[in-house]
Amino acid sequence: MLVIGIIVPSLLFTNIYLLAGLLLVQVPLLLIGRVARRWVQSLRAGVFLSALIFVVNFFTGPLANAVALTLRFLLLMTTFSFFFMTTSPDDLGLAIDKVGFIRWLSRHWLGYPNALSFTFTTAVRLVPTMAVDAQTVVDAQRSRGLELDKGNLLKRVRNYIPILIPLLLIAIRRSLELAEALEARGFPGKEGRTSLFELRFKPVDYALLGISLAGIVLSFWVFFHYRVPTI
């Protein structure tokens, strides 16, 4: 919610002060969420694209515009990364599990209301495992003389076949084994599933929700009633 609260005004307006302000607002939040260091690192990743955006706009419009659009980009990027850094995948999974629409979709498409959120959490859980496997495959094929950094573009792409095929097969085999393991633990239950953990709203959550909603409504109202200049 908070994320949307920041994103909506940043998309609606190009006022530099507003955008810079929104960027700064994130700082105390970062400290609360204890993700400050990683956030700064992600900023570094966005430097190239930000510079690109700035340069392109510098040559096609007023300077103020360029600054504003660059700020907007940074804002969007950092807000998203902030979101993903502070929300753990299992909480996300639990949240998805509660959304009525997803449960409906899941039931009609796959047969069980929890299937989609389960797919999501399992996929996330498997990422580090697949990463290790990917590294092993690369090691094994390099030990057979495969050189991934040589040759023209076409050759380089073809060189990835000996990496992708084993990985694909490992993924398939793993899925089959996991499916068996699932069945062996009683999935799907006759009476449906009761989850051990539950997401609950705390007062802080309500407050933030309120602030974000207010911010969004305010942004839209201002947008339709005034012209806010860029500088």
């Binding site: 299992d90 580090p128 996991l178 699932l182 069945e183 062996a184 009683g186 009761t194």
Partner: protein
């Protein structure tokens, strides 16, 4: 498959796998590919969550199973952060939480080093004795698991070729067993070689302790 297979008196064909999972727990060979949740605690809870229990009942089962399998300290870790032995224990906890009367382990020590294999098998044995669970282990390394077994069923190409107590089967069928590719205890091999040369005549020992006893006695006289 022809013939009948009954679990608790009910034919397996009359029940679905998920229904059977309440009676028979299965621990797979590859420890990593049977853990699918993001933390250990959630993985152990997965089974009971499918049983239509109340949240408190699930909580109790999870706590009990993790305690019994020795995984309480691992509660909040992710599966990929665990060692092979720890993963097997977590899988065991997950199966225990279903409160089955039978647990089947499919070559559970394949990916474990010998020390961890002994620990895991020891833990399984303890569970068996303390909770009265029937344990069935599929293995070909008799030297590792023979010590814990009350009864052994030997198969060859889909047929049962021996069935009885470990000491009896080992003694009577030693040569045939080694022909079947089963990893036999070295002390048994040693004894069968000595027996063939007429230097000893007793039954084959199944583990080191009994071999020590028998040899010491023989050598003292």
């Amino acid at each position: 498959m022809s013939g009948e297979l009954l679990v608790d008196g009910v034919s397996v064909n009359d029940e679905t796998t998920s229904e059977l999972s309440r009676k028979v727990g299965y621990v797979f060979q590859n420890p990593e590919n049977q853990l699918f949740a993001l933390t250990v605690e959630k993985d152990v809870a997965f089974g009971p969550e499918n049983l239509g229990l109340t949240r408190q009942e699930i909580r109790d089962r999870v706590d009990w199973a993790m305690e019994a399998a020795g995984t309480v300290a691992l509660k909040d870790l992710a599966p990929y952060e665990l060692s092979g032995g720890q993963q097997q224990r977590v899988a065991l906890a997950g199966v225990l939480a279903m409160k089955p009367s039978v647990i089947v382990l499919d070559e559970p020590t394949s990916f474990l080093d010998p020390r961890t294999a002994e620990e895991v098998m020891g833990a399984v044995d303890n569970l068996r004795r303390e909770n009265g669970i029937t344990v069935i282990v599929v293995e070909h390394r008799l030297d590792l698991v023979g010590r814990f077994a009350e009864r052994i069923v030997v198969m060859d190409h889909g047929r049962i070729v021996a069935d009885g107590r470990v000491e009896d089967v080992l003694d009577a069928e030693f040569d045939r067993l080694s022909g079947l590719g089963i990893g036999l205890p070295k002390v048994s091999l040693l004894w069968s070689m000595l027996r063939r040369d007429g230097l000893v005549s007793e039954r084959l020992p199944t583990h080191v302790e009994s071999a020590v006893k028998m040899l010491s006695e023989r050598l003292r006289n």
